[in-house]
Each structure stands twice: as C-alpha cells, then as structure tokens.
C-alpha cells in the first residue's frame, strides 16, 4: 500500500509535468467540446445540442485518455527502458501497473468534471442527476478502455508510430459511434461498424444516464458488451504485454 501510494503520487506528477500528455490527453477533448458547442446549436434528440455533445465528449475522453493516453505512456516507457528498469526494483509489477491505471483514471475523472463545468459555463448544461450511476458507468468504460490500451501496446513496435496508430483507431471510432454528433443519417455500413465498437456502448450508457434520467442497470446489453471488450483486452494484454524494448 505504501508503494502504491508512492507510485500513484509520482504518476500524477509525471502526467501533469509532461506537456504532451497534459495537452493531448487531458486538454484536447475539452477544447474539442468548446469548439463543437460553438458550432452546433439547436437540438439533438429532443435535447439541447450541447448536452449530447457533452455526453459524446466524455465518451471520447474515456477512449482518448484511458486507451490512447495509457498506451502511449506505456509504449514510450517500454521503448526507452523505463519499464525494464522498474522491474529491477522491489516495486511489484502488479502494484506498478495498478498505480499507472488508477492515475489515468484520476486524469479522466478531472477531465469529466472539467467538461461538466465548462458545459455549465458556456451552455448552461445541467449537472448529472444520477451521479452514482454515471460514476459506475464511466469507471466501467474507462476500465474497459484501459484494458484495451494495455492490450494494444503489444502490437505497437515503436514510440514514433504509437500516437499515429492510436489516433487512427480513436478518432474514427469516436466519429462512427457518435461522439461528435448523431449517427442516424450515416450510411448503413458505417453504422454497422460503429455498432461493434466499445465506445458506442459507453456512449449509450452515458446518454441514457445523463440525457434520459436512466440508471446504470437500465442498459444491460451495453454493460455486457463493454465488459466483454474489457475482458477481451485483459486476455490479450496478459499474452502480449512486454516490459522490455524491442531487441536491437
């Protein structure tokens, strides 16, 4: 526990100290939200557009932070030998990875709070009513994306390519699943692709809770699909996660 707290404190310092992570991981979804709400007015699905965009941006934030941000952090540490170096210390690997995961969850939580505050400020969006349901849904979503983030590190060979690869996954996923606006008018094919992606189900949960006053348990299918993606990510991560840089 002492080691966990120690590592968590340093993970937070490392995150906020790095301009890349603070801007691209933390700030980017917030800036995107400010931009989109300035462009979209009127109503989406019977609610003011800003409400839906807020829900969409929280979902995008989960993917961008817990999946892409985590994966980039771990790939860069692996490739410059920090993960390997850590393995030579008494810090148990499980404690280390847990601290890294919880740290990125904390970043995501601050991001969500900032999005709500900004929405309130710019467009008078309401605070969430079913707070506990929302917290549970976001924790599930972030955990599933974190598991997928761990899994994908095994397939990214170099630091140089990592942010490109991850953006090629995250941005289209966010677009196809409705982070940036409704997908109703999308062609059938694109909607079919979106329908298998985890972000779609996290967005369903968030929108159900935030926009339609539902509880976490009102969307069992979404919970099951997200949980399934999370378990799949975990299973792959256990097989492919590496602590050492590529040879040579």
């Amino acid at each position: 526990m002492r080691l966990f707290r120690h590592q968590l404190r340093w993970e937070q310092r490392l995150f906020w100290r790095s301009r890349e992570s603070a801007v691209f991981v933390f700030l980017f979804p917030i800036l995107l939200f400010a931009l989109l709400t300035a462009v979209y007015n009127g109503h989406i699905d019977g609610r003011p557009a800003a409400w839906g965009l807020l829900a969409g941006m929280i979902g995008y934030g989960a993917a961008n932070t817990a999946f892409a941000g985590l994966a980039i952090t771990l790939v860069s540490r692996r490739e410059i030998g920090i993960l390997k170096r850590i393995r030579a210390t008494p810090l148990p690997p499980a404690v280390y990875l847990t601290a890294v995961l919880i740290s990125i969850m904390i970043v995501f939580a601050i991001q969500v709070a900032s999005l709500f505050a900004l929405g309130r400020l710019l467009k008078s969006t309401p605070w969430p009513t079913h707070l506990l349901s929302l917290v549970v849904a976001l924790a599930l979503g972030a955990a599933a994306f974190a598991a997928l983030g761990l899994a994908i590190t095994g397939f990214i060979r170099s630091l140089e390519g990592s942010s490109a690869v991850l953006n090629v996954i995250v941005l289209p996923m966010a677009f196809l699943t409705g982070s940036f606006g409704p997908t109703r008018h999308y062609p059938q094919v694109l909607r079919a692709i979106g329908a298998v992606l985890p972000l779609k189900y996290l967005l369903e949960l968030i929108k159900g809770i935030y926009l339609h006053g539902q509880q976490f348990w009102d969307k069992p299918l979404a919970i099951a699909v997200l949980g399934g993606w999370g378990l799949f990510g975990m299973a792959v991560a256990l097989r492919t996660f590496r602590w050492e840089p590529r040879e040579g």
């Binding site: 120690h6 310092r13 490392l14 100290r17 410059i80 920090i82 170096r85 210390t89 008494p90 148990p92």
Partner: protein, 255 residues
Amino acid sequence: MSAISVRDLRKSYGTYEALRGISFEIKEGEVFGLLGPNGAGKTTTIEILEGYRTRDDGDVEVLGFDPERAGSAFRERIGVVLQQSQLWPNLTVAETHRMFAGYYEQPRNVDEVITLVGLDEKRDARVKTLSGGQKRRLDLGVALVGNPDLVFLDEPTTGFDLDEAEQLADRLAVLREGVIIREGTPAELTGGSNETEIRYRKDGHDVVVRTTEPTKILHKLAAEALAEGRELQGLSVRRPTLEDVYLSLTAEHQE
C-alpha cells in the same frame, strides 16, 4: 563467501547458443569485469544474474538467491545500470532519485547519493537537460539509491577504456562466443601472455618484433647495430597491456 556463483550456465536463443556453459565465482567485496566483443554473451549473462532472463541449464546463485525465482527481497539488495535505458526527461535529478528511493525499505540518503555521483550542481536540473555523461551518472545514482549489496553495470561508460577495467576490476573474465576464454586478475591476464614487444626504426621504417625471448633478441639486435656502427633508433621494449591481450584474443576470434 561468494556473492555470485555461476556453474555451467547455458542459454540459447533458438538455434543460436549465446552461452555454452560458463562458470565463475565472484567473492563479496570484489569488483569483477566481464569483457568480450559484441555478441559474446555479456549482456545475456548479466541479465540472467539480474533475473531478467531465464537460463536453459546450469546453476546460478546471486546473494544466495536464484535470480530466476527471486522476488522483492532479492531486488532490495541489487542495483542495476542497464546497457541502454533512459529515465523520465521531465523529472529533476533529485526527483528521479527520490522516486526510486521510495521503492526500497532502507534507501540511502538521496542528497548523499547525488553528491557521490557528482551531480550536486545538477540537483534541480531536468533530466532532459543533462549531458550524456551526466545521464550515465544519474543511472548510477539510481542504481545506488536503494543501498544495494551488489551493483550490476552493463557497459557503464561509452567507449569503455580497457585501461579503466584494468584499474577498476579486481578480477576479469574474457568472454568469446559464449565461452570464458581467459580469467584472472588484470596482472595475471597481461602476465599470462609471455610475449614482449620490441620496436625500433631501421632505414626509416618501423620494425616490430614480438618475442617470448626478449633478452636474446635484444642482445642480437644490439650486437648487429654495434657492429654496423648505427643506433637502434626509437627503441622501445614493453610488456603487453590489457588492451593488447584483449585485442589479440578478439583477433583470434575473427580468424
């Protein structure tokens, strides 16, 4: 008592035999140097001792532990400088030390370690602003901050000078193609080769003679020169340095 004991250690990567049964002992308090050309198996050996790699065969004991199965108790007692690794560019020298110190139950005083590795003036500098040499000293500081009983240094200096090995190490082993071909104190290694090198200039050309009978050869050369009434210009007689021994061992390798 032995700090490290290795017996008939073997390791293959696929069909490539990286280590073909090496054995050595390192006593407590001893500085031991493992030398050898690229691909000789040095890093494989050191990483097996550190617990990063598993072995195929043989016995290995480090501080009484089998590194392959050892956990935190073993890692409390070792310090590691990896061949190629960097640390967090955005942390300062002191922060990096403090972060690593927190992993150990009884770390050394951070300021003391920073002084020890000569980074006092860079205490609050970000790691990314350090020179290459300063970064290596930071690696060393981080390896020492846990107050280890044993430190592993994998190629601790860039362009490592063999004369340094001669000065620093109590004992050396030369590894070639996964086999230890020579082992002993630096004096034994250089003395083990009984060749002496004689150099002089004749008619504007350098003449080099390597011989196991320097007295006889020198006597003959001197007699010739005296008879012809000329000087043995630029005469030097020297024992081989560690570098000479090492190079001759590696040269055999290329034949």
